[in-house]
């Protein structure tokens, strides 16, 4: 299913109905460039998670084997993923993964993915500049810096290779640490401060502004109440004009909100995904590609950005 933006009649250009209704008075979204492709603002992108780790939180070890991982890439591309997000280190605490080990887990795999899928956008989830350099050499298009500029040199690497960069918020947490009694005077204000500062620094370092995304990073340095607040107020991020990425798939805040175990969080994930899409988010990091694609297509159709596939009900 293609949810490419289509012109809807009677609407000012560059402003969606959701933005108008949410009363966001901010900057208009501009095209997002990733790899060799330019994505219009109304185009909603799915980023498929393919972890090269034995111990990530959701279905640990699913794609630890390289053959299984490549098979997973073929599947998610067929299911409509636009971006493959490859991670070599889990976000949760655990055994240390040295730089060379992280490179060993990601680089050969990126080369294999690139060989099999010339046009898919390859993203790498890392906070280390050494890894960033190695994966860009191997053909990565986007550096997904989930740990919020912990290594400031990562932006320089993105600039050097013409790669994109995700600027996330963690509340200052060190990589691979869990939130412990974190509190904010205003969590969204803190997120805006940090992500906009990182985006500005990235531009200053030479990263192409059309390749920068901002990410509130649900659950990172946040309790469930904070992540719910972020979800409710996501329009404040999209109003900045920067494209917003959200990463909510099967996360703990969904589980805590619903009292749902790790295998029972899909409906909650899709609900957050839908609200975020309505509020203007553009990239959705996900485990469940088919379902995420469908939820996004539905929201795009409600917004008027996508024509329904087939409409004969009451029309025949």
């Amino acid at each position: 299913m293609d949810d490419r933006a289509q012109a809807a009649p009677g609407r000012p250009p560059g402003k969606t109905q959701a933005e108008t209704q949410a009363g966001t008075q901010g900057r208009t979204q501009a095209p997002l460039r990733l790899g060799r492709t330019e994505f219009a603002p109304g185009r909603l992108l799915v980023m498929a998670i393919v972890n090269r780790t034995p111990d990530s939180f959701y279905r640990p070890g699913l794609t630890w084997d390289e053959g299984a991982a490549l098979e997973r890439v073929h599947t998610v591309v067929a299911e409509g993923a636009d971006i493959i997000d490859i991670g070599g280190v889990p976000a949760k605490p655990g055994a240390e993964v040295p730089v060379d080990e992280e490179i060993e887990r990601t680089v050969p795999f990126i080369e294999a993915v690139r060989a099999a899928h010339l046009d898919v956008i390859i993203s790498v989830d890392t906070w280390r500049n050494e890894v960033g350099r190695a994966v860009c050499e191997a053909g990565a298009d986007l550096l997904n810096d989930s740990w919020s500029g912990w290594d400031p040199k990562l932006a320089e690497v993105a600039a050097e290779y013409g790669a994109g960069l995700v600027c996330a918020h963690t509340g200052g947490q060190a990589p691979r640490t869990r939130p412990f009694r974190v509190s904010y005077t205003d969590v969204m204000a803190d997120i805006l401060d940090r992500t906009l500062e990182l985006a500005a620094r990235a531009v200053q370092a030479g990263v192409d502004p059309s390749r920068i995304l901002i990410d509130p990073a649900h659950d990172f340095g946040k309790n469930t109440w904070h992540s719910l607040e972020v979800s409710r107020r996501l329009g404040e991020m999209t109003a900045t004009g920067w494209p917003v990425l959200i990463s909510v798939s099967n996360k703990d805040f969904v589980g805590e909100t619903l009292g749902a175990g790790i295998e029972d969080r899909l409906a909650g994930t899709l609900a957050v995904t839908s609200v975020a899409a309505w509020l203007g988010a553009r990239v959705f990091r996900a485990h469940n590609i088919v379902q995420t694609r469908q939820a996004l297509a539905m929201v795009a159709a409600i917004k008027g950005d996508l024509q329904p596939v087939h409409t004969v009900r009451g029309l025949a």
Partner: protein, 258 residues
């Protein structure tokens, strides 16, 4: 003089509003409620609340816990926000219906043991002088004992792989020793806790416990542990501390006060 003291933990989830529809820790809250009721039983003229915070400071007694810092949807209380530990202490006093004088004393997370002990001694002495003053006034002479102390803080947050700070093998033995020391009224053992190790193990209670040691001086208290568990990988401890009047000596310390 401190006539009674109570140890309570200071996780945000002690506030019922923060755990959603699930009370999550009813047993822990009940233990805190029971301990604070006991603390207020002698009708103290003042309650000194001691808890860890980024810096040593005394806080506005009108302050309260700002729940919105943890759950924005709950909104501001409209009162000056306190550091977490003192805010929870104030909450426990409110829940017990205490409306008397309260002193809210934060102790810096990195405060050395000696400084903590000095702070404790100064707080106890201030309580004593206040008590003496009060006893000169006929109207308040029968008001009750001078001061009690509510001490907030927790053991390690690194007790298991699922704990906030992940697993550190030293965490459980450290907490076990704290519980033993509290159970035995062994203040010297609490006073000797290593701040560096405590910090590495994400133990928040260390400085506050050492303030209590300074406040009680050389006495060997009789204690009762009401709760000692770690349902989420963080060690919570609720205990009553009755300082008694006995001064610990090497001879006495051969025998357990229990």
């Amino acid at each position: 003089m401190i006539s009674r003291a109570v140890l309570c933990p200071s996780p945000p989830l002690l506030a019922r509003e923060l755990t959603g529809r699930d009370p999550a820790v009813p047993g822990l809250r009940a233990a805190c409620t029971a301990a604070v009721a006991w603390l207020l039983e002698p009708r103290p003229q003042r309650v000194i609340v001691v808890g860890p915070a980024p810096a040593t400071d005394d806080w506005d007694p009108a302050g309260r816990l700002d729940l919105s810092a943890f759950a924005p949807a709950l909104g501001h209380a409209g009162k000056p926000g306190l550091p977490l530990s003192l805010g929870l202490g104030a909450m426990l006093l409110d829940q017990a219906g205490y409306t008397g004088t309260r002193v809210l004393q934060a102790v810096g997370e990195g405060e050395p043991a000696g400084q903590c002990a000095q702070l404790g001694a100064a707080l106890a002495a201030a309580g004593e002088s206040a008590g003496q003053c009060a006893q000169h006034g006929a109207a308040v002479a029968a008001a009750g004992e001078p001061a009690t102390m509510l001490v907030l803080g927790d053991g390690s947050a690194r007790r298991s792989e699922a704990a906030p700070g992940h697993l550190d093998e030293r965490a459980v033995p450290f907490d076990d020793e704290v519980v033993r020391a509290v159970r035995d009224g062994d203040l010297p053992a609490l006073a000797a806790l290593d701040p560096g190790l405590a910090r590495e193990l994400m133990v928040t209670g260390r400085p506050a416990w050492q303030v209590l040691c300074g406040a009680l001086g050389p006495r060997r208290p009789v204690t009762e542990v009401l709760y000692a568990d770690a349902p989420f990988g963080v060690a919570y401890l609720v205990a009553r501390v009755d300082p008694g009047s006995r001064v610990a000596s090497s001879a006495q310390r051969k025998f357990s006060p229990k």
